[in-house]
């Protein structure tokens, strides 16, 4: 029974990791990363590691995606900027 | 107190200092926080030197071993063998000089965060000392990451500038990836042996023969350490980071941190993989030798082509790391002790050169060799220091870099007859590049260099790191490079240093002795060894490379443009693209290359 759960969780983790890489938009990636954190926490629980699962839940599915989202918000806030074709920016000098 | 008890304090004292600085930093005036930082760094240096003197005492070869928390064989072990303790002492002393140098350096510390720069430097010191002293693989990884995290932050310290941020990011991504590779390797070793201490893993590995798992573990662990050591093709981050970090940080990065990567490779090999259950000596020699030769040639070639002075020095660090790697690759006590002395001398010289460039940056707001042409004629003192540094870098006797080079090239010569020629060539080219820049900048010799065609290039306009441009040069900015060069000279002429380093190398390569000392508490007697010493061939080769360096520099300033050479180097220079994706791809390819080079080792 546990074995089957571990296998399922492993596949979930592998899938989530792949999805997190292939989602090139950081906002969507942050959400997938959050899901990856969740599935890792699940896997760790099945592997009898509640301490690690708890950390992973707190860090991997909350703090890291939150930081990514805040970064995106900062980066996108600037009114007017690149849409890929970037200009050399103000250097702040 | 028992010397062994002092080992963890070498890590704990600077951490306490950092915590004090952060807690009180925003209220302290600049002067006080600088003094507090220096005091903690100096106390650590005193502790490290005390350990070194007790451990390096000639006589029965015992050295201090401390199980942190008193957990014999269950906890983490710190080992104060002369080489590790010596590196900790070198790190601490260099940190003290760097803090003195930065005394007047950042004219304007970040607002409301006065203590943060010295605090970060202190944590950096703790990380490097811990890495040098630890006898536990996972603990080494922790300190590896600690060094990394602090170094990324310090590299990007000047957030108003664009270049440091790019360099710090490349540094961070590539180093973290290397760290994760190392951790995978550590996990594989744990799966096999169920142990984490160097000595315990080594003993249990020797119970079975080498197989694919041991090979994979070696490759993965070494990959991370070689990233830190900036060996080709893991080196791309180094010039980008070292060229843009604040000068005091450059002194530490180039002077000791990169060398700690080489130390890590040597330490892990000798304690874990050198027994019958590890990898065979000829295969490891071949792998490290190939990487070392590639590194040193590429570093020297790129160093010669630079006009951005800090980048020039950074590539010279790459070239010298290659030489250190060759010294380790020959897997003899003489190779280790020669390289150790070379590292000692190089640290002082390279830090002094960076210190001189820092003065130029703060006075002229550029570190571009062409733009600075003849402008620094008004700073003869700096010019003299810079020239002496260039000569010492090329291995001029009797500097410690010269003696170390002589000893290392002799040891390497026993493995392959052409290696000494490589040492001479690379020392001459890197020293020559420094001298060429010195001749142009401080003496205005030769023609004003014109615009070069073709090839990617980094020019050297930068913001000064002090508040404004310096008028008068403050005393510490001159005293520090002078003291560093003097120290490098002294280390080369005092015979006691060479004999102590020789003994350290012999104890370092005594795998059985290390394991017995750590696990069984038996004193390891230093095996027979030949300490580095001045020999006629060494002196002559040192003089030869210094003469070659001068000749190259003179030639270069007389005939500044070599169209053919520029075209020749353009593809190599294009590899250094500043693109993080490229660097990561090279890292993976490098791990594969390392696999291919070591794979015969398991048959």
């Amino acid at each position: 029974m546990t074995d089957a759960l571990i296998v399922v969780a492993l596949l979930l983790v592998a899938g989530a990791a792949t999805a997190a890489v292939l989602n090139r938009d950081p906002v969507r990636q942050a959400l997938v990363l959050s899901f990856l954190g969740l599935s890792l926490a699940l896997l760790f629980t099945f592997l009898q590691a509640p301490d690690v699962a708890l950390s992973q839940l707190a860090v991997g599915s909350a703090v890291t995606p939150l930081m990514i989202l805040l970064t995106v918000r900062k980066v996108r806030r600037r009114p007017g900027s690149d849409d890929g074709a970037d200009k050399p920016a103000g250097r702040g000098r | 107190m028992d010397t062994a008890r002092l080992l963890p304090l070498v890590v704990a004292v600077p951490l306490l200092g950092a915590a004090v600085l952060v807690a009180t930093g925003r209220r302290l005036p600049r002067l006080v926080s600088d003094i507090v930082g220096c005091a903690f760094a100096a106390a650590t240096a005193a502790l490290a030197l005390l350990v070194l003197f007790r451990a390096g005492h000639p006589g029965p070869g015992t050295y201090p071993v401390e199980w942190v928390g008193g957990w014999r064989r269950v906890g983490i072990v710190l080992v104060g063998d002369p080489l590790g303790a010596g590196l900790a002492a070198l790190v601490s002393l260099l940190v003290v000089t760097v803090l003195v140098y930065s005394w007047r350096y950042f004219e304007e510390p970040p607002r409301r965060h006065t203590g943060s720069f010295p605090a970060l430097i202190l944590v950096f010191q703790a990380g490097m000392c811990g890495f040098a002293l630890t006898g536990d693989l996972f603990n080494a990884f922790v300190f590896f990451e600690l060094m990394g995290v602090v170094a990324y932050a310090l590299t990007g310290f000047r957030v108003e500038e664009p270049k440091p941020l790019q360099g710090a990011l490349a540094f961070g991504v590539v180093n973290s990836l290397g760290g994760y590779a190392t951790l995978l390797g550590i996990t594989l070793l744990y799966a096999r042996t169920g142990e984490l201490g160097f000595a315990q893993i080594g003993r249990r590995l020797d119970a079975d023969g080498p197989d694919g798992l041991v090979l994979a573990a070696f490759v993965l662990v070494t990959t991370g350490l070689l990233v830190k050591a900036a060996a080709v093709p893991f080196h791309f981050w180094l010039p980008d980071a070292h060229a843009v970090a604040p000068t005091p940080v450059c002194m530490l990065l180039s002077g000791v941190m990169v060398e700690l990567g080489v130390y890590g490779v040597a330490r892990v090999y000798w304690t874990v993989f050198s027994g019958p259950g590890g990898l065979s000596h000829p295969d490891v020699t071949r792998a490290l030798l190939v990487l070392g030769v590639l590194t040193t040639l590429l570093g020297a070639a790129m160093c010669w082509r630079q006009r951005h002075l800090k980048r020039l020095l950074a590539f010279s660090t790459v070239a010298h790391t290659g030489l250190f790697l060759i010294g380790v690759a020959v897997l003899t006590p003489e190779g280790i002790s020669g390289t150790a002395l070379y590292v000692l001398g190089h640290a002082g010289v390279k830090a002094a050169l960076f210190a001189c460039v820092g003065v130029l940056l703060d006075r002229y707001a550029t570190v571009d060799e062409h733009e600075l042409f003849a402008r620094a004629r008004e700073l003869p003192e700096v010019g003299v220091l810079f020239a002496v540094g260039g000569l010492a870098l090329s291995g001029l006797p009797p500097f410690a870099s010269g003696l170390g080079k002589a000893a290392a090239e002799e040891a390497a010569g026993h493995t392959a007859g052409w290696l000494p020629a490589l040492y001479v060539l690379v020392s001459a080219v890197t020293g020559g590049a420094v001298l060429r820049a010195g001749l142009r900048i401080f003496a205005g010799v030769g023609r004003r260099p014109g615009k070069e065609e073709g090839g990617p290039e980094t020019t050297g306009e930068e913001e000064p790191e002090t508040g404004g441009r310096l008028g008068r040069i403050p005393v510490p900015l001159l005293a520090v490079p002078a003291a560093l060069l003097a120290a490098s000279l002294a280390l080369g002429v005092i015979p006691a240093v060479a004999s102590a380093v020789g003994r350290a190398g012999a104890l370092f390569t005594d795998t059985g002795g290390y394991r017995r000392t750590v696990l069984d508490g038996h004193a390891a007697a230093a095996p027979a060894h030949l300490p580095p010493h001045w020999q006629l061939t060494g002196i002559l080769l040192g003089l030869l490379s210094a003469a070659l360096a001068i000749a190259l520099a003179t030639l270069a300033v007389r005939r500044p443009v070599h169209t053919g050479a520029a075209a020749l180097f353009a593809p190599v220079r294009r590899l250094q693209s500043g693109h993080i994706g490229d660097y990561v791809a090279w890292l993976v390819a490098g791990a594969a290359l390392l696999t291919v080079l070591t794979v015969p080792g398991i048959r």
Partner: protein, 266 residues
């Protein structure tokens, strides 16, 4: 280097890595079979010190030196982030506008906040006897505080979050850890030795110095993560760059965040 060349170099390297890793996997002991000598010794050692959560014992007793390094990594990363995300010379601050929050959202968020804070503190306090500890609890508590951003607005968050205090708290946590270690040295034992009485197994005060170090880590992590998130929020909400909101050199469109998305569409 072109994207294609980069990909090829990666693929060659990845193939090598895959072969290497596969070779290692073949030689790995089968999943879930072999006990490790170190693990066995650790369990015995933890029980000898009356610490029921062996992981807490490994973290704060057997390998407390690792945890010192780990906390220092956090400490220096927070310090580094504070330095990197400082207000640059050419930037200015803008007061965030007070937000209008639906009362139901507010009530819910405040309730969650209270619960999460309690859970965080509970997890910290029970580190040595049940899963969890200073790190996990600290992260939960710190993240919980930021629910205020949803519940009220940024200014309310700033009021309950005197950053200076948290920065000092972080340094105090780090210092407490080091000082606990040094106290053992002064008591004539090894650095970070467990010199306090061990108490009874599974009691809140069991484990000697384990709860002390655990509390130090809890303090440091809570404060550290609060400072970390605060810095990112600060950048996202308050700090303005030159050229922002006043035309500047930027004129149109969204930002680089999803540059490649837009490129793909184009």
């Amino acid at each position: 280097m072109s994207a294609r060349a980069r990909l090829w170099i990666f693929l060659v390297g990845a193939a090598g890595f895959a072969v290497l890793f596969a070779a290692a996997c073949i030689d790995l002991p089968a999943f879930g079979t072999v006990p490790h000598p170190y693990g066995v010794r650790a369990v015995r050692a933890a029980l000898s010190h009356h610490t029921s959560n062996v992981i807490a014992s490994v973290n704060f007793d057997l390998r407390a030196f690792d945890t010192l390094g780990e906390e220092t990594i956090l400490f220096s990363a927070v310090l580094g982030t504070v330095v990197l995300l400082r207000q640059a010379r050419d930037e200015h601050r803008k007061d965030p506008e007070p937000a209008v929050v639906h009362p139901r959202v507010r009530r819910f968020a405040l309730l969650t906040l209270a619960c999460a804070l309690l859970v965080g503190l509970y997890v910290i306090a029970h580190g040595q006897i049940s899963p969890g500890g200073g790190f996990q609890g600290g992260v939960v508590a710190a993240t919980a505080l930021h629910l205020l951003y949803i519940a009220a607005d940024y200014r309310a968050l700033e009021r309950v979050r005197p950053l200076t205090l948290y920065e000092i708290g972080e340094a105090a946590g780090e210092a407490a850890y080091v000082i606990t270690g040094l106290a053992a040295v002064l008591a004539g034992s090894a650095f970070l030795a467990n010199v306090l009485p061990f108490g009874t197994l599974a009691a809140l005060s069991s484990g000697g110095t384990v709860p002390v170090l655990n509390a130090a880590v809890g303090l440091e992590v809570t404060s550290g993560i609060v400072v970390l998130l605060a810095r990112f929020l600060d950048q996202a909400v308050e700090i303005e760059e030159p050229g922002e909101d006043d035309g500047g050199p930027w004129d149109s469109g969204d930002s680089g965040g999803n540059g490649d998305e837009q490129r793909e569409r184009a």
